[in-house]
Symmetry: C2
Subunit: 494 residues, 2 copies
Amino acid sequence: MFKHSQLESVKAWLADPAHAGLPLHARIQRAIRQLILDGALGVGRPLPASRALAQSLGVSRDTVETAYGQLHAEGFIERRIGSGSFVSQRTQPMASRGKARRGKAHSVSQAVLGQRGTALFQQGGVRDFLAPRPFAPGVPDTRGFPLATWERLQRQVLKAHGSEALLHSHPQGMSQLRQAIADYVNLERGAHATPARVLVLTSSQQAMTLCAHVLLDAGERIFIEDPVYHGARRAFEAAGLECVPVPVDDQGLRVDLLQASPQPARAVFLTPSHQYPTGATLSLERRLALVEWANREQAWIIEDDYDSEFHYAGRPTACVQGLDAHERTLYVGTFSKSLFPGLRLGYMVLPPQLVAPMTVARTLLDGHSAPIPQLTLARFMEGGHFGAHVRAMRAVYAERRDTLARLVRRHLGDFVEAKVPAGGMQMPCRLICDIAEQDAIAAARRAGIDLQGLSEMHADGQGQAGFFMGFAAYTAEEMEQATRTLEQALRRLR
Amino acid sequence: MFKHSQLESVKAWLADPAHAGLPLHARIQRAIRQLILDGALGVGRPLPASRALAQSLGVSRDTVETAYGQLHAEGFIERRIGSGSFVSQRTQPMASRGKARRGKAHSVSQAVLGQRGTALFQQGGVRDFLAPRPFAPGVPDTRGFPLATWERLQRQVLKAHGSEALLHSHPQGMSQLRQAIADYVNLERGAHATPARVLVLTSSQQAMTLCAHVLLDAGERIFIEDPVYHGARRAFEAAGLECVPVPVDDQGLRVDLLQASPQPARAVFLTPSHQYPTGATLSLERRLALVEWANREQAWIIEDDYDSEFHYAGRPTACVQGLDAHERTLYVGTFSKSLFPGLRLGYMVLPPQLVAPMTVARTLLDGHSAPIPQLTLARFMEGGHFGAHVRAMRAVYAERRDTLARLVRRHLGDFVEAKVPAGGMQMPCRLICDIAEQDAIAAARRAGIDLQGLSEMHADGQGQAGFFMGFAAYTAEEMEQATRTLEQALRRLR
């Protein structure tokens, strides 16, 4: 009782390779549903007898019966014993579709996103380099990670905790991990931490989002470094904050400009131990002045200590949080650099009065962090594997840094001047020729090489032209080959 | 050259059990740093010779030298050969502290949070029941999870992908998992999905946060069900949206009231396959009317299909997303209920034009989801383990539902009337005695039993008094014992 065109339409649906993943009865059911949804089969119209349709389609009658059964269960058809199947009265709302569609004309593009969604999208988010190849920055060496040890500890966790490790974590984080983190930042970073003040997160990016939403309101001001880590700036802007850039010099953030600012701000974001991207370390005078400023203004210090594990000349300076007796500092740390980015564990050490509000806000963002990685990491830290891995990588990265510095001098000296950093995983290189930054990066990408431009990190997008060259994840051989390739690519631009 | 009080202060610091985790030299360094930070040791003041301090403290001279070395590296002291160590001029900013502190008096409580942070905190977030005991709702049975299979697949993932599995995931999600999810929702939920339209997230909670921020602006209206899942409502409120409650009856959301609303809204949030908390299924007529409404108004449908895997009477109705030819529907799914909450994987199936904006916004929230669980889950689904586990649990949960219904009738019939649900993991029970909801819940908690109140899910907080009793995670014996305990606790209230 199908028209020829309807039968053809069902057959076309069945044959469409896009539907090959579905069982035959489901394909028949969807094809008929589509005829109803499209209005090709109106209310009250009869369906073919299942035996007839089975014959037309060359399938078993059971298959068609299953399809009809599902259409019936979903309310698309009615089945009357002795008189067959009909398109249900319940599909009536479809009838008004054509009229309604003409009634009110919206352009889709107008209505797609909210204003803040549009702003978010245009701003571009924070993309990481996915399959790292020289010289993508910010990527640790995962080839040297003691994966076998990690897997062994995870087996221990599952043996010890069983199916309980599959349940929800406390939203503040598992106590074992909070203890290990507090011990670590107290010992290695000179922090004043207790397990009760640690909030386990998925990443430092999540910490920025939380700080922006919990501490400040839309329209309020936050001081940021200039140049600045773009992931932080974009998280603040996404929360509606006004980012006020404060210049950085070779001693880090110009805290005197904060103090002299005629307009107050509710918070300051900075990377004191190894400024991103300049590499400057905030001097002690400025650390103390910063703490005083925050106390006087009742402002918050958001201290991002993203890669302090990798400091190549003696110990890194202790963190600001440990100097702050007034508890105005939120310390942000991550395991994405010190262990591996796919772990998805970061944390904050919070002033006591912020622990409960931040934990509550975190439940609304994404609930909690996965318990198995938390428990595995706690054992990894307690067992000394974390310290050992960081020490091993520190030696590897220091050597790679020196290798890259040599390679840049030898091969790229006509184009850039490298600033050899005292820590971290990437080397800022200033362009000293007449090649534009974006041209250099585009030429490198065409040659299979990733670079990150520096000028976009400046408030006006007009900072010193140049790029970051990451070195942590690449062997000397890989870097040598890539440097030669880059040299050729840049020569072709002259 | 320390005053007696200073030496005592150092000794007290060393002896404090809170500092027992630190090596001796670090404790000495911190103790002296504290004297400087507190102003007890001013600029230019000499430190004791290391030999003398070592003797006073009963430690080796090397230990004191290490402490002094670190204080020097951090800029707290200066060391002049032949004349010893002095508090550095660089600590000068400390001197102004007292004055500054008096200069401007803020109360800490005033300045702690922004307005939106305060609102977030007061609203309370979404707390999950942590160590599930009867009758915490929303918790799956993790004791029946095939953990050995999962571990085996994870070993395969690490063997196949090696250290690459430790790197960043694509922010949209690993392609293997997006393919598996698209196949699943097409087959089981009647969706129109392709891998390119799937966005992998950590949870459906994260989906709500993303929808609220990307699709709507603060102050805009969103229709929600009344009663409603509180985690969704709170995420919308946290993003500044005005939640407009629309009543639910036994056919689900009253779509006619949406159509008749004099004021439009940019979106509607609903749980069509198994309304939370009433359990109603949205009828086909209303589904079609909803799709028409969204198309006419250019509004978004946010379809939360949180526990459709567990439907005990035939197949669940196909999802709204599959009926929506206009691509106004965002389908939200989670593996927290069908597998385990600690997995931290959920997803959205998006209209094509929303894929890029939502992916970008997600990078600002927390970057991406962990690759190892994504790859393991993809294999778990491809290998048929997901389908098998869901089928096994469906049978177990259906039996537990019937057990609980019997137990409630037998033991709690004087107090409540249970509404046996056609799906899901919890049973709504209406109080039919003169005990107040909060009294019943408090008495249960004192007796070691978790219940979730129903009236807070209503727009006015005044809905029918009663509670959810979760049954999925508990054996018949556990439920029988807990029901008897609950009966006694309620009897004592009369």
